[in-house]
């Protein structure tokens, strides 16, 4: 109970500050729209080549996961600014739960991601995506969990490095292989065998497959099981990492 209350206090503070900066909100909402309208049409003529019947049913889930990963990865930059202002230390000197300090921030990131996801899926339906509602619900849920995991990891990284200059290259280094080996924009199956093989080691590829499967209406598959498992594993690991950096005495 106290934990929820403390998380909510932190969350409310974060939301208040974000909403006061409308530019930030608009950019956040615009991102998925731009992807859909500027990149979607390029995929349309290619869809048949990789065996998709509907380009948007293939593309929207990938975009969704990308939003979840990439938007959340940048959450840590705000945290560095807060740390520099002394806010983190001031919060850590209160009796509030260290996990609540992190979770309150994750709630902000997840809410933002949720709104973006709704816009993306809604527009997806508008431009011709076909997907069962329960598939969309499952896909969005997986995305939100993954987003929370990435935001937690980003916060942990931010508190460990405390420097934008260190963090930016690290994030770039992580994002490149994630983007290229997850089949977000194009399916891995159209690549050569060695590339497909290496993508097997990329957890987010399984998650993209699972979300895509959910949108396509196929639930009882092994890739769905893998995707869900990976999402839960990443979420648990990142939450643990994030909490331990907030708890660690020298942060």
């Amino acid at each position: 109970m106290t934990f929820l209350r403390e998380s909510y206090i932190v969350f409310r503070r974060q939301m208040r500050m974000n909403l006061r900066n409308p530019a930030w909100v608009i950019i956040g909402m615009l991102q998925p729209v731009l992807y859909l309208f500027l990149f979607g049409p390029l995929l349309k003529p290619l869809a048949e080549q990789f065996g998709a019947t509907n380009a948007y049913t293939f593309f929207v889930p990938g975009l969704l996961v990308q939003l979840g990963i990439f938007g959340a990865f940048f959450a840590g930059f705000t945290l560095i600014a807060e740390w520099r202002d002394g806010v983190i230390e001031a919060e850590r000197v209160t009796p509030a739960s260290r996990t609540a300090l992190l979770v309150g921030r994750l709630m902000r990131d997840v809410l933002q991601l949720f709104v973006q996801a709704l816009i993306l899926v809604g527009l997806g339906y508008v431009v011709g995506m076909r997907a069962p509602v329960r598939g969309v619900v499952l896909g969005v849920a997986l995305t939100l969990l993954l987003g929370a995991a990435c935001a937690a990891a980003s916060n942990a990284l931010a508190l460990s490095t405390k420097s934008e200059d260190v963090m930016a290259p690290v994030i770039n280094m992580v994002m490149m292989p994630v983007l290229l080996l997850s089949g977000i924009l194009l399916p891995m199956t159209i690549g050569p065998a060695w590339l497909v093989r290496s993508s097997d080691f990329m957890p987010t590829r399984w998650i993209v497959d699972a979300v895509r499967g959910a949108f396509g209406g196929s639930f009882a598959t092994s890739s769905m099981a893998w995707g869900i498992s990976w999402t839960l594993v990443l979420f648990a690991a990142a939450l643990w990492w994030g909490t331990s950096t907030f708890r660690r005495e020298n942060s």
């Binding site: 106290t2 209350r5 403390e6 206090i9 932190v10 409310r12 503070r13 208040r16 500050m17 006061r20 900066n21 807060e82 520099r84 202002d85 002394g86 806010v87 230390e89 001031a90 919060e91 850590r92 000197v93 209160t94 009796p95 509030a96 005495e249 020298n250």
Partner: protein, 322 residues
């Protein structure tokens, strides 16, 4: 209120391939009684902030024990946090947040209801001369106002023990003097015990009942400002001699007063020495100098300051090292 025994904090640093261990705090004992105002004095890098962070549960001691407000800083960290207020050196509010909301949120993290936090917050704003600042952004406040806002944050839950880390660093003299009155109020108006770090001697002198001096991670002295100053033998007398060729003759005269020529310092036109009860000795000394035909350009007598104390204790001036 505070009992620390053998506190140690070691950090590991890496310079190239050489890994080395730095003992930032190296066996510190501190006792602070209820209602005391203690100044924790030392140059930058002496271990002040590190000690403070251990006492406020932000840093786990590498070794040693400490109880703060009756609770163990490691085993009962949460109770310690509930009992203390901490005003950190780096500030405590988001630059783009609103001052009043920051204070309220902070109070609510201590378990206050929204109404309680609001009422307390407004009281504190009034007491700390922050009227009308409630919906201001901290980044648009002056340095002094922001420090007072930090103090309001630290006091929102009415702690009985307040830690202040370099409260006036970077403030202009007027804002400093103003802040001093507010710090003095912490005890006189709320009966709080205050533990403040500073590298300003006048600040420690002005505010504290007792001064604890730390250097290289060790406590080198702990006493009242007056007793510490009494350790420095005598007042500093600084004579400026008009003619260079008369300087050595003047130094001899001063040496007869001090008793030992080794204690007399000669520096170009200046002759300096520490003299017991300078007020009594100087008239005679001046007469003798006059009879010897030595002309003075100026004479300065300085009561011992904490800087002199620091110099005596550590062999270094606080100003040099700060």
């Amino acid at each position: 209120m505070i009992h620390a025994r053998g506190l140690v904090q070691t950090f590991h640093t890496k310079a190239g391939r050489e890994k080395s261990e730095v003992r930032a705090v190296d066996g510190v004992d501190i006792d602070v009684a209820e209602g005391e105002v203690v100044g924790f004095l030392g140059p930058n890098g002496a271990g002040k902030t590190t000690t403070l962070r251990m006492l406020t549960t932000l840093l786990r001691p590498t070794a040693g024990t400490a109880t703060v407000a009756g609770f163990d800083v490691v085993k009962q960290a949460e109770q310690v946090r509930r009992s203390i207020g901490y005003v950190s050196q780096s500030g405590s509010t988001g630059g783009t947040a609103r001052a009043g909301e920051e204070v309220m949120d902070h109070g609510m993290l201590y378990g206050l209801t929204s109404a309680q936090a609001k009422e307390r917050g407004h009281q504190l704003f009034e007491q700390l001369d922050l009227d009308g600042m409630w919906s201001r952004q901290p980044k648009s406040m002056s340095g002094g106002q922001r420090r007072r806002l930090d103090i309001a944050m630290g006091l929102i839950h009415d702690p009985t023990l307040v830690f202040l880390d370099e409260p006036t660093t970077g403030l202009d003299p007027q804002a400093r003097a103003n802040l001093w009155t507010h710090i003095a109020d912490l005890r006189s108006r709320r009966g709080a015990t205050v533990f403040l770090t500073t590298h300003y001697l006048d600040e420690a002198d002005h505010l504290s009942d007792r001064i604890v001096v730390i250097d290289h991670g060790r406590i080198v002295a702990s006493d009242t400002p007056d007793n510490l100053k009494a350790q420095v033998s005598g007042d500093l007398v600084d004579l400026e001699i008009a003619a260079l060729e008369q300087v050595s003759a003047a130094a001899e005269k001063v040496a007869t007063v001090v008793g030992d020529a080794a204690d007399v310092e000669v520096d170009a036109h200046h002759v300096r020495a520490r003299v017991q009860r300078a007020g009594v000795v100087i008239p005679g000394l001046l007469r003798e100098l006059d009879q010897a035909g030595i002309t003075l350009t100026s004479i300065e007598v300085r009561r011992p300051t904490l800087d002199d104390v620091f110099l005596t204790l550590t062999g270094r001036s606080l100003r040099d090292s700060a």
